[in-house]
Amino acid sequence: MTSPLVLAAAGQVGGDFFKERSSDTLPCQAQSDHLFCLDWAKDNIDRYGTPTVQHLEIVVLSVVIGFVVAFALAWLAHRRRSLQPPLLAATGVLYTIPSIAFFFLLLPLTGFGRDTAIIVLAAYTLQIIYRNTILGLANVPDAVKDAARGMGLTERQILWRVELPLAIPEIVAGLRVAVVSTIAIATLVVFINAGGLGTQMYGSGNLTFPTSILIAAAIVMAMALAFDLVLLTVQRLTTPWRRVRPA
């Protein structure tokens, strides 16, 4: 964890962080058994602004890119059923690569920084979004598609007007899992010097000073909850027919 490479990657933030905290101006940070130092938190809350924005950017970009790619793959596999198993396997394999390994494997190709982070995080979202989109499309009752075709909707109209709207719940469910897990995994991009809230968690000093970890973790969790809530709201607003009481 604290290999020289990692420290070098996190160096800019971590080193600075360590220095600041080693001064004697803060009363409770010297006590290693002190779980949360409120005074320090009050004085240092500003330092979370930039990492939070970075974190948000990385998450949003990753999920958007992941969604576009996964959706395109799902659409392809929906039209050509024979592609479904290989695509599921391919996205599954990506998902099983350990994240640290994935980051470092890409370093020679894409280098340190945000690009690598986004590529890896987007790749991780593929499996869940792809699988849920396929699932949602498959759950559309055959009778509904048969009726749509029999009434004269073209294949494209069936997809956009019938299948996709009906698949929204599954697609959004996939997105929710993807977003929450991406927000969590994005704390690791600090190791490839891509910023984010991980910068406030990792650093040698933090091992004996949990206050910053707690603050960063709280922001990460709040972010995950907020995104989840937003997506849930979007789903409810776009699927009014699911909220009616059946006969």
């Binding site: 009434m151 019938v162 699927t239």
Partner: protein
């Protein structure tokens, strides 16, 4: 609805051979359905009836031969465009769960580019036509019962005033009581809108009830007999048809007849205050087959049957000893009339006209003689008009 447009449908040696299959699902089918009639395709599962129906809107592509709507081959049409002119109703209804009832009914008009006001007006008109509360228009399909959903399914198929309707076991998933109601409603509707309908079912009773013509099909999409329901029941063309129609086909014929279609017995009538001797004399006449006199009022409306005890007095009493039992009308369907007789455990029932005046007497004996007579099996009986309840 004033616009009663409909086209004939003609199968011309239409054949469907599915890839990888050696036997055609439909084999050189030739069949003409006149405009405005209901043609029922009936047969056991796997006989190709649905495949044959689906050739019309090209949800099944024709391998060989042709299907013509009016004068035009469906093969010359772009499938999606063609389908917008053909109503489509399926057993599982297939309403769009994410669209309101109004939007569902307006689906084809929307594809055809109608403006919003016209679609709304048309939806409301159709909701009324199928007997649904216009307020249901803003509901979603899941909020309706199965029967209501299929009514909407029929309305949706009618929305753009199609030339032809395809109905694939439309009432097959509905409970028997509601099925009968929907069948009757559709027949009543059809009497108004006069569409050309291809109706698929595996139920011969439904076929007899719904069809102006019935095509009995067997494996390989071959038509064994194409005839009116009465012809089919009277003269099954092949052993297959005879088996399929069933051993009770004589009874089924009763569903196609009305009481007015059969020769009734004359009722020996008696009036209040009439001398009983006079009534007895009537009963003894050679051509009277009803053993009891029927008491009627001054307007010849039946009051009750006179028993031996009633006739013991000098004059006919004002009240009869035995109850009147069922009273039938000339318009009653024969099958229902027989059911009435059997249910009341009686041999005879007076038949009245629409003003309630006595016309004659129907007996179980008349019906059984009719069913046993050679005429019942061979004659073209006039009762081909379907019963509309």
């Amino acid at each position: 609805m004033s616009d009663a447009q409909a086209s004939s449908v003609r199968y011309d040696e239409a054949t469907k051979l599915y890839r990888g299959s050696s036997e055609p699902a439909v084999d050189h089918l030739s069949l003409e359905v006149p405009a405005g009639e209901i043609c029922v395709l009936v047969g056991p599962s796997g006989c190709g009836k649905t495949t044959a129906m689906r050739m019309v809107n090209r949800t099944v592509e024709i391998s060989e031969g042709d299907v013509l709507i009016g004068e035009h081959s469906v093969r010359d049409r772009e499938p999606a465009q063609l389908r917008r002119e053909i109503g489509y109703v399926i057993q599982q209804v297939g309403l769009f769960p994410h669209r309101t009832i109004t939007q569902n009914i307006g689906a084809v008009p929307q594809l055809l580019g109608w403006d919003k006001d016209r679609i709304r007006a048309r939806s409301a008109e159709l909701l009324e036509l199928i007997g649904l509360d216009p307020e249901l228009g803003d509901r979603y399909p899941s909020q309706l019962s199965g029967g209501q959903q299929q009514r909407v399914g029929v309305a949706r198929a009618l929305a753009a005033d199609p030339l032809v309707m395809l109905m694939d076991e439309p009432f097959g998933a509905i409970d028997p009581i509601n099925r009968e109601r929907l069948q009757n409603e559709f027949l009543r509707l059809q009497a108004e809108i006069k569409k050309t309908v291809l109706f698929v079912t595996h139920d011969i009773d439904e076929a007899i009830k719904m069809g102006d013509r019935i095509a009995v099909m067997r494996e390989g999409g071959r038509v064994e007999q194409y005839a009116t329901p009465a012809e089919l029941l009277m003269a099954p063309a092949t052993e297959f048809v005879e088996d399929f129609v069933g051993a009770d086909r004589a009874l089924k014929r009763l569903a196609l007849m009305r009481v007015s279609d059969i020769n009734l017995w004359e009722a020996p009538l008696a009036h209040v205050g009439q001398a009983t001797a006079e009534v007895r004399a009537k009963l003894d006449a050679a051509d009277v087959e009803v053993p009891f006199p029927l008491l009627v009022d001054d307007d010849r409306r039946p009051l009750g049957w006179l028993s031996e005890r009633d006739l013991g007095a000098d004059v006919v009493p004002g009240r009869t000893d035995s109850p009147l039992g069922p009273v039938l009308e000339l318009d009653d369907v024969m099958r229902d009339a027989l059911a009435d007789l059997l249910q009341h455990e009686t041999q005879y029932a007076p038949v009245v006209d629409h003003r309630g005046r006595i016309i004659g007497v129907l007996s179980v004996e008349i019906i059984s003689e009719f069913l046993a007579s050679p005429e019942a099996k061979t004659d073209e009986h006039p009762a081909v008009e379907r019963p509309h309840d």
